[in-house]
Symmetry: C2
């Protein structure tokens, strides 16, 4: 009798083993095969040396998901791993889309600590009130729509967390985003950047919006633009929820 | 010689032990005292029976934070626990504000899986693209500002995740929010609700925006309003990231 396959889509958090949930660890233990982007699978290899690991390079997300679905359809227990959360710019949506014609395939989505939260903890408490999460990558989204989202979030005084703030081809995207926000928020608005969250070389900085505009960041950085309430307290970035007399 | 106190602010996720990160569990193990809202502390009691537990009822957040800070200042190792993440409508901001005059007190913020992510995993992948997180509670925020944020998020086609969608005093708030979004999104927009995430009695439903408008939810529910791309796939709510030919 053939065993039934199962596909976990697992958010592993920012990178270190400690930042995984117990549910995520248990799903990986239960899996025979771990599938993912090379960098994240390498982070897991030392903790799960007995597992079969399958990787594809960056930008081959569809091939990666198809591979994971195929193995599960063959009866294997498979974990598709994503950095951060499985859903926030993660692979769970693509897995569910590609497995549409296989409604009987058991798919379990396991959430994880996305960069907005893990970087937020490093900075202090930037996301203490309503916020927007926006990716500056225009690979799959028109830039006009991204700009509209930045404009609308800033004009209603929401904190903004930016994913994919830069790459070699998009060196000026963060500057452009800051200029849009500056039409609604003051130059001294408190902002923060965190690089290599939860990994070697983790760095954070709290700075003003006008300084952020002229700061170069790389693709391993998460950026936070505060709202009118955000302040710096003892070197940390804090957006109060609004309790009285505090 | 007096030991040095330490204050952890710990996001414990939706409720079950399995949904905590290993870092959160380690912080609780390292603490002598666990402080929190009664309901969340009760969830932890069976796993950490040897710890001193201090609780305050709902709405006494300032007293709770002051108590945690005081114990840490006395030299104790203290964990202030928050459901979900420590920062997203959590206590880390208030702790940092109230400890402003004690810059030498060691405060470590530990993130957790916030309801947007844990509920998202139950529904499928609603947050696969840019999204806004908005609380409908007007206890600390003017309703005009909340409405402006809803309007702006919907008009730039962002997915919206609603916290605190209802309470006894605010029975019609979700209906009002849906009416605002309906000025920008179609009545058949795919939405989702999740109740009692990660606890006994967990329930989810995928439904249209026009049906959501006339649905009663309680304060233990998290609500997701999709964007123009969101669809239902095999009973799950999926917002695609936009890969071609999928």
């Amino acid at each position: 009798m053939r065993t039934t396959g199962k596909l976990y889509v697992v958010g592993i958090g920012p990178g270190s083993y400690e930042d995984m949930t117990i549910r995520a660890v248990n799903a990986l233990k239960d899996s025979e095969i771990i599938v993912g982007y090379t960098v994240y699978v390498d982070l897991l290899r030392e903790h799960f040396p007995e597992k079969e690991m399958l990787t594809t390079p960056m930008r081959q997300e569809q091939e990666r998901c198809q591979m994971a679905i195929l193995k599960a359809q063959e009866g294997k227990r498979v974990a598709m791993v994503c950095s951060g959360d499985s859903g926030v710019y993660g692979m769970s949506g693509l897995i569910l889309q590609l497995a549409k014609e296989s409604p009987d395939l058991e798919i379990e989505v396991i959430p994880g600590v996305t960069a907005a939260l893990s970087g937020g903890a490093v900075l202090g408490a930037p996301l203490g009130h309503d916020f927007a999460v926006i990716s500056l990558s225009d690979l799959l989204t028109p830039m006009e729509l991204i700009e509209d989202r930045l404009r609308n979030s800033a004009s209603s005084d929401m904190v903004i967390c930016l994913y994919n703030p830069s790459s070699k081809k998009r060196a000026d995207y963060l500057k452009n985003a800051c200029e849009i926000v500056l039409q609604h928020q003051k130059p001294e608005t408190v902002c923060g950047i965190v690089r290599n969250i939860g990994r070697n070389g983790e760095e954070m900085e709290v700075l003003t919006l006008s300084r952020l505009k002229d700061t170069n960041v790389d693709m391993f950085t998460t950026v936070y633009i505060g709202n009118s309430m955000t302040r710096e307290i003892n070197g940390r970035m804090v957006t109060p929820r609004g309790y009285k007399n505090v």
